[in-house]
């Protein structure tokens, strides 16, 4: 009997295999997160070269910060609008493409294509199309409507950034929904038909419950993703007009890297972390309650 039994060797291989991921998580996720917590307790101005411990002052500032409140409102509108529009559009497209119809592969390709267009390229094109004399208003003009200056009005700017992001990524959720729809057994629909259920009832009572795991997965991906939307905002609106599209991540960027308030930037990071963690945990809990077929 040697020391290196199969079991021992197996353990060693296990540790070696997870070592890169584990060390990476420590070095680039957990330790930096701890440091963010520490920074948030300090006043740190990079330009002034000052770094001093101020306790909870940054957090008091956070609570009193009017701009931060506006930024949270913008973030909430953005995330909600994005999730509702993205998921309903993706589900609609998936249901349409799930019909027996020639050419669905072509349409699937077309709906998916924006996912692959480089993000900043996509955003620049929309920026041009959303100019007052751009093609969006040109199209509206064909129907006799007078389009606004999309990126300069508070509401229209928010609508614009949401729509640009939804069209960019709806194809991804569409593909996931399509796969889920194809996994619903046809026999269930047949049985419901015999029982006299109409198409709408079949959709609500069979399709939705059976694809609920995918709805949950896509909603987590979409809402957590919405909190990380930076490039679109930076290119399209720079958070404006006013603070109407200054989502939290953009406000963090402004504070830390434009105004060089690293300490306060770290405090906003802590807030962002708390929000993302809370949302994710909430959605995992909901999964237990209403998602079907959870093993």
């Amino acid at each position: 009997m040697t020391f290196w039994t199969y079991r021992r060797r197996d353990n060693l291989v296990g540790y070696l295999f997870v070592a890169p991921a584990l060390l990476g998580s420590l070095a680039f996720v957990l330790i930096p997160l701890g440091m963010v917590g520490w920074y948030s307790l300090n006043e740190w101005n990079v330009l002034g070269g000052t770094f001093e411990f101020i306790g909870t002052e940054n957090y008091e500032r956070l609570l009193a910060d009017e701009k931060l409140r506006e930024s949270l409102v913008a973030t909430a509108w953005f995330a909600t609008g994005l999730m509702v529009l993205n998921l309903s559009l993706a589900l609609l497209l998936a249901v349409l493409l799930n019909q027996k119809l020639r050419g669905t592969t072509l349409f699937r390709t077309l709906f998916f294509s924006p996912v692959l267009v480089s993000l900043v390229a996509w955003t620049l094109v929309w920026q041009l199309m959303l100019q007052p004399e751009g093609s969006v208003n040109g199209l509206l003009g064909l129907f006799g409507a007078d389009g606004p200056n999309w990126l300069r009005g508070e509401t229209t700017a928010m609508v614009s950034v949401v729509v640009v992001q939804v069209v960019k990524n709806a194809g991804l959720n569409m593909v996931l929904f399509l796969a889920a729809l194809q996994g619903v057994p046809a026999s269930l629909y047949e049985a419901a038909k015999i029982d006299g259920a109409g198409p709408w009832t079949r959709f609500l009572r069979i399709t939705i419950p059976l694809i609920s795991p995918t709805i949950l997965l896509t909603s987590i991906i979409t809402i957590v993703g919405s909190l990380q939307v930076f490039a679109q905002i930076a290119v399209l609106t720079q958070g404006g007009p006013g603070t109407s599209t200054t989502v939290l991540i953009y406000y963090l960027y402004q504070q830390a890297f434009q105004f060089h308030h690293f300490g306060y930037g770290a405090t906003i990071s802590v807030l962002l972390f708390v929000i993302v963690a809370a949302l994710t945990l909430l959605q995992w809990r909901m999964r237990r309650r209403w998602v079907l077929h959870e093993s």
């Binding site: 291989v13 991921a21 990476g24 930096p32 709906f111 924006p114 620049l124 963090l252 962002l272």
Partner: protein
């Protein structure tokens, strides 16, 4: 019959916002600047001068190379790290496994933007700002890799153990089983990981603008926003030419390999 016509009509209508921007990006990049705001679907006269202008205004070839090689290294690195960790967490039993998995999973809860301030300071203290190291190391080992590990773990969990048992009977060790049995079977999941990772790296924007400061180090997303005239106004048609060169190759690769692409993605969605 009329139902079919209605369906096609609806699909075509819904297609417009998805297809028009790309169409318009490509065609308008070849329009003379005077036509940039016209609604015409095609240029009245085709010009390619914008394309040479792209290369005159920025070291665009260098920037293209930067984006490409970073994305390739990050994709290969992530596939390796995620496949190994995913396999070990799913298949090997070792003490402390679950606790270690939870430690790794916390990365899912932490958007990389949260940790960018300390990471910036860390790389600055090593003298690695304005190099590509942060854009390679952090995605391969840090938070962006966690989703890939999760996908790989889910895949290996669903793999029937009998295949590995047979290989073990034949005297293959763990590493051998991983390389010769498990990994070849994992191609769909690896494909999905590769797509996700490549696009993530290709699109990265906040990190490059935080870390990089000279044009010859820039990556494409950052370079695209630099085509401005001396007053800081955007030079639309040059931007569109650069955007077209950034977007079209990826689209072409996708059209050629779309079955593997979409099935790989759908696969992870169902299993995840």
């Amino acid at each position: 019959m009329s139902r079919k016509v209605a369906l096609y009509g609806l699909l075509c209508l819904l297609c417009v916002p998805f297809v028009f921007p790309t169409w318009w990006m490509v065609t308008s990049s070849m329009k003379p600047i005077s036509e940039i705001f016209s609604e015409s679907l095609l240029p009245s006269e085709w010009t390619f001068s914008t394309y040479s202008q792209v290369f005159r205004m920025q070291p665009f070839g260098q920037q293209y190379w930067n984006s490409l090689y970073i994305a390739v290294i990050v994709t290969a690195g992530t596939m390796a790290v995620a496949a190994m960790a995913g396999y070990a967490f799913a298949r090997i039993r070792f003490p402390g496994q679950n606790a270690l998995f939870v430690v790794v999973l916390t990365g899912l809860l932490i958007p990389s933007e949260v940790t960018i301030v300390p990471l910036f300071r860390f790389f600055q203290s090593l003298g690695l700002t304005n190099t590509h190291w942060p854009l390679i190391i952090v995605p391969v080992l840090g938070a962006p890799c966690v989703l890939a590990i999760f996908i790989m773990r889910q895949f290996f969990l669903a793999l029937p153990p009998e295949l590995e048992e047979a290989a073990r009977m034949d005297g293959l060790g763990r590493a051998g089983i991983f390389c010769r049995v498990a990994l070849p079977l994992a191609r769909p999941a690896l494909g999905a990981v590769a797509i996700f990772t490549f696009l993530h790296s290709w699109n990265l924007y906040l990190e490059p603008i935080v870390y990089l400061s000279t044009p010859d180090m820039y990556t494409l997303p950052q370079a695209l926003t630099q085509f401005v005239d001396i007053y800081g106004g955007p030079m639309w048609n040059v931007q569109l030419a650069a955007a077209t060169m950034t977007a079209v190759p990826v689209l072409v690769v996708f059209v050629l390999a779309q079955r593997q692409f979409i099935e790989g993605l759908a696969h992870t969605g169902v299993k995840g």
